[in-house]
Amino acid sequence: MAQVANLRYVDAMERAANISMTAWTDARPNDRARGSVRLFAAVLAASACLSAILASWLPLQVSIATVFLFAGPHNWFEARYFLMRLPARFGRSRNFFAVAFAGIFILTLAYVSLPLLYYANVWSGSNWPTAIATWNTLLLLWLGALVLMRGKQNSRRDWFWALPVTFALCALNWLAPDLFSLAIVYLHPLVALWFLDRHLRRTRPEWLRAYHRCLLVLPFLIMGMLWQLARAPSLSDDNGLFWRITQHAGAELLPSVSTHLLVSMHVFLELLHYGVWIVALPLIGATGAVWSVRTIPLARHRRGWPKLIGAVLVCGLFLVALLWIGFSANYAVTRDVYFAVAIAHVLAEAPFLLRMI
């Protein structure tokens, strides 16, 4: 009612003064939009800079704190996001999702069982690179299959290039499997930025340009960190936890690189990853109202399962709390267990990202 009255008032004013108010009414939302874009870009750039500073200043401490605080919640937000992107009926994508879920399940199971089999003395440490190379090959072939299947869903796409690229990556993986795994550790956090890009493209196209400009800051931050920390003395990994953190960042594989640089770089990328999943995507509405199950197609559909979805999300919250309790009780062991199991969310990102391309 108020809007109708306002429009009538504006119309009357236009007629009385014989001027067009269109330009004025359009100017206000444009200004607002420009302001919000600027705010978005400023927050993004400031967050990236702050993350780089914190990660470079206190790498081990920040690594411990961020994993403790954000590892669980970011997985919950990711799970919620994926549930939102999951169609209520698979339709033509049935095979795609069947391959995706089978791959996530089998690869996660294999990844988790690798250290268990090692500790059970099923194989010696000398076979470890071969085991890792085999797992990486399965991962690449699975990704290649998903890309080809996704490409076939649109007749205008020819994604056959995925096959030679997959095989070339398999070849690189067999040359240096441990370095290939390390590359996954460093590249995975950047996938979140791709998700944000795809989501902005759909929901806030006017922010996309500013976002891409902000992304240009990242190489400069990385180069700055390399310049500052390349000659920094290595971190003292005299206790089990610090040793685990430096090993996870690749200290053993890259012995000539300062562990300060490695850990800082990894923490910086992880902070970006957590920031996108916990702050950026929920703020732009990508995950819907966090408390509302109705934003999830599987729960909203007339033949859907709202109670099951609600229960899954509540169970997820319990798991987050359990992870915090685990970190409080024995941080080192919980961290190890978490990074082994967390491969599932790394794998789950692939099919959902492909669905958005």
């Binding site: 071969t130 020819d158 290039w161 030679p164 690229v165 070849a171 040359l175 240096a176 370095l179």
Partner: protein
């Protein structure tokens, strides 16, 4: 004809005997176990008239690093060494590379689009530029280690210090600490 057969038989006999005569060649002596460079640092040689015994000063930080390096000698292999270490892995890599190149060819042939061919040409060009750049930047590499040690005799005569790079190498056996300094034109031990 008979003569030809005899010559051929004699020739074959000669060739076959060559195989057996190899059995008389002494077994090659096993080459002494090569040392392994575990750490690279710097060294400064300082002549001092006040001291009566040669002294090797190592900072605590460097000592700590040497300890770490000796503890992880197996992990300190270069990327190339790691790749060369496993034959089966290299075979698998070759197999996948073969598949990659084959399917890339199939993709180019079946796409038949100028755009894809341009992408392929661009990739080849990029690889060529990277290769050329790798060759060029080698020309800009720093001088070899021997350059810094060249002035050592003169500096020792003048009583001045000399500074240069140093590889710490672990060698088998129980010998004294040995410092090998690169010098052009010096004779190897045992050479006259």
């Amino acid at each position: 004809m008979k003569r030809t057969i005899l010559i051929c038989a004699a020739g074959l006999l000669l060739i076959a005997s060559a195989v057996f005569t190899f059995g008389d060649i002494a077994r090659p002596k096993p080459s002494p176990e090569a040392g392994k460079v575990i750490f690279h640092t710097g060294l400064e040689i300082v002549p001092d008239a006040k001291v009566y015994e040669a002294r090797l000063q190592i900072s605590q930080q460097t000592l700590q690093r040497i300890r770490e390096a000796t503890a992880n000698t197996s992990a300190n292999q270069s990327v190339t060494q790691r790749i060369m270490a496993s034959g089966p892995r290299t075979i698998m890599a070759g197999l996948f590379m073969f598949l990659a190149v084959s399917f890339a060819g199939v993709w180019l042939a079946r796409s038949g689009q100028r755009r894809n061919q341009k992408i392929a040409a661009g990739l080849v060009l990029c690889m060529a530029v990277l290769g050329a750049a790798a060759i060029i930047v080698r020309a800009n590499a720093g001088p070899p280690g021997s350059f810094y040690w060249k002035k050592l005799p003169d500096n020792l005569t003048k009583g001045e210090s000399t500074r240069g790079g140093l590889d710490i190498e672990i060698v088998p056996g129980d010998e004294q600490i040995k410092l090998i300094v690169p010098m052009k034109g010096t004779k190897k031990p045992g050479e006259e």
